[in-house]
């Protein structure tokens, strides 16, 4: 017994600084919380502290960019292409959310310091979801994110809609976490390990093959809830509509991409195809087929339901469901990749897709926040009637975001879609080709409701008085970042994609085509 313990301790793979970006975000969260408890009446200091913390964290993250893929904390943390590219998206999302929410915090009496602290803790959880190479870390990251977002959804304590949103999110979210956790337990049972690299080695020869399949299915349920894929999407519209708009933006972009990061890590890197081994082939085929069907359903249901909405927030909620479907196309492309380069390129494509979706959707939600006024009263389509020429700056930027969500060439949304559809087409598989065709048809369907908002703004008459709101400085900054992002990623996307295409830690890969 003693010798075993000693052997393990001789040369542990510690690599402490690997989690430095995460630690900085957590530390900033603690500082914000302390500052807020000693100086409770501040409105913007904690926001500034949070932004500085996020910037420092991003600096350390970027300085790690050129390191070779590595693991630390005894294999529990992985720093590879998937972690770096997703984490930079999370930091951006968090920073822009802080800028957007300053508007809302000024109009309403919300505990702003607590909100910033929660946002940072949620970001911390998201970062661990991307860097966790062990089911324990992924679970803890997911729960840190979820528990913080439950509170943020209910931050308007006196508002019935916000209460309801928080309660629905809490009950359905923890229900989904329980499924995810059961999946993790069964995977642990089937393989005897919670480390994803070890699981990948073990899928060729699991101790209990049936449990591996059931566990994988349970994890699809759990992650499916978090990324809001059909049929696990029912909570999304209600929760997104009821939550304060900046929080909705954060959930729609941040939580979704974080869930995608761990979803990718567990399925693409943890359950790879090992040619010639029946257990692994069967598992791989099962999850690819299940997710392909889910992706097609997600895109279709999301887009068709979005057409029927009268509320802009609900419309964007269904649109976010549809976008989860598009991102899954790239995800499945990564799962079907024939070699490591293709796989890493497909993972980078999903990360890039989430980046384009982040800048576009955050921008759209920034304008919805500003136009929604206090308590998000004005979020129906008719509230946007005829504002086009009275607030041209806002209306034209919102139109740009809608066109990018639609995927018009020269916008970020277009490049994102091209990037995620390509790996799926390259796989030369009937199901995947059908999926890409479904995605293209769905893009056409989505034109109806994205363009409808533009039509409403510019070509409808307004019956009531309406004054264009003054655009506050923080919101101007947020809009500037997002507009530049939409144009930059749409036109000069190559550099970013190249930066994202770094290899991942997963070593198990035996090239082979499916029979």
């Amino acid at each position: 017994m003693n010798t075993i313990l000693l052997q393990n301790l001789v040369n542990p793979n510690v690599n402490l600084p690997i989690v430095l970006p995460e630690m900085i975000v957590a530390l900033t969260g603690v500082i914000v919380m302390l500052y807020d408890s000693f100086v409770p009446r501040q409105r913007s200091v904690t926001g500034a502290i949070s932004l500085i913390g996020l910037a420092i964290s991003a600096f350390f993250l970027v300085s790690m960019w050129n390191d070779a893929p590595q693991t630390g904390w005894n294999g529990m943390i992985a720093s590879d292409g998937l972690r770096l590219s997703f984490t930079i998206v999370f930091l951006l999302v968090s920073a822009v959310t802080i800028l957007i929410s300053s508007v809302w915090a000024d109009n309403e009496d919300v505990p702003i310091g607590e909100y910033h602290a929660l946002l940072l803790f949620a970001t911390f959880g998201m970062m661990f979801m991307a860097s966790g190479n062990d089911l324990v870390i992924i679970f803890l990251g997911l729960e840190t994110l979820s528990i913080a977002t439950y509170v943020m959804a209910g931050l308007r304590r006196g508002d019935l809609k916000s209460n309801e949103s928080a309660m629905k999110y809490f009950i359905l979210g923890s229900f989904a976490s329980a499924f995810l956790l059961y999946g993790m337990a069964l995977i642990y049972g089937a393989t005897g390990s919670t480390n994803i690299t070890e699981i990948a080695l073990k899928v060729a020869n699991p101790n209990f093959p049936a449990l591996l399949l059931v566990g994988g299915a349970m994890m699809i349920v759990g992650f499916g809830f978090k990324v809001a894929t059909v049929p696990f999407h029912v909570w999304t519209p209600d929760v997104y509509e009821g939550a304060p708009t900046p929080v909705t933006a954060f959930m729609a972009v941040g939580s979704k991409s974080a869930a995608f990061a761990s979803f990718l890590r567990v399925f693409v890197l943890g359950f790879p195809l090992i040619a010639g081994v029946q257990a692994s082939e069967f598992l791989h085929e099962s999850w690819v087929t299940a997710l392909s069907v889910m992706a097609i359903l997600t895109m279709t249901v999301g887009n068709i339901a979005a057409i029927l909405q009268d509320n802009v927030k609900r419309m964007l909620a269904y649109s976010s469901i549809a976008h989860a479907g598009y991102a899954m196309v790239g995800f499945i492309g990564a799962g079907m990749a024939k070699n490591m380069q293709q796989r890493d390129a497909a993972i980078a494509a999903v990360a890039f897709y989430m980046l384009t979706y982040a800048v576009t959707n955050l921008g759209a939600f920034a304008i919805v926040t500003l136009l929604g006024q206090k308590n998000d009263r004005r979020t129906a389509f008719e509230d946007y009637n005829g504002i086009g020429f009275r607030a041209p700056a806002l209306a034209f930027t919102l139109s740009l975001f809608m066109l990018s969500l639609l995927g018009l060439p020269l916008t970020a949304g277009f490049m994102g879609k091209v990037m995620v559809f390509r790996p799926a087409l390259e796989a030369n598989n009937l199901l995947l080709t059908v999926m890409v065709i479904a995605a293209a048809v769905n893009t056409a369907i989505s034109a109806y409701y994205y363009l409808r908002l533009i039509v409403v703004m510019f070509f409808r008459e307004r019956t009531t008085d309406w004054l264009a709101p003054r655009i506050p400085t923080a919101l101007t900054a947020a809009l500037l970042i997002t507009v530049l992002g939409v144009l930059y990623f749409g036109i000069f996307s190559d550099g970013v994609i190249e930066k994202f295409s770094k290899s991942s830690v997963g070593t198990v890969f035996k090239a082979g085509t499916r029979p």
């Binding site: 729960e143 629905k168 009950i171």
Partner: protein, 101 residues
């Protein structure tokens, strides 16, 4: 005779199913929350059973994490339910019906 691994797994499967069915059919938010806790404890049983089967400590370690997360979730969840109760004087989820198509 010591119970086998299969009997522990069967028990945890049954407990998990009871919890899941309870969440779906119960209308009281507190009751639903208790069912979720039951599901988490069923998972803990699975972890401990496998931990013993493999003589590996990872499963037990995971259980500690699950317990602490469940405690944090309980604190936040009950807070959310209380704030709902203050505004609606009810913890029935059917009263949570403002946000609908």
């Amino acid at each position: 005779m010591e119970p086998s691994l299969a009997s522990y797994l069967a028990l945890s499967g049954i407990l998990f199913t009871i919890g899941a069915v309870g969440v779906i059919f119960k209308r009281n938010a507190i009751g639903m929350f208790m069912c979720i806790e039951l599901m988490l404890n069923a998972v803990n049983l699975t972890f401990v059973a496998f931990s013993r089967y493999y003589a590996d400590v990872t499963g037990q370690l995971f259980v500690f994490m699950v317990m602490s997360v469940a405690a944090a979730e309980a604190a936040v969840g009950l807070g959310i339910i209380i704030s709902f109760f203050r505004n609606r004087v009810s913890v029935d989820v059917d009263d949570a019906s403002i946000l609908k198509n």
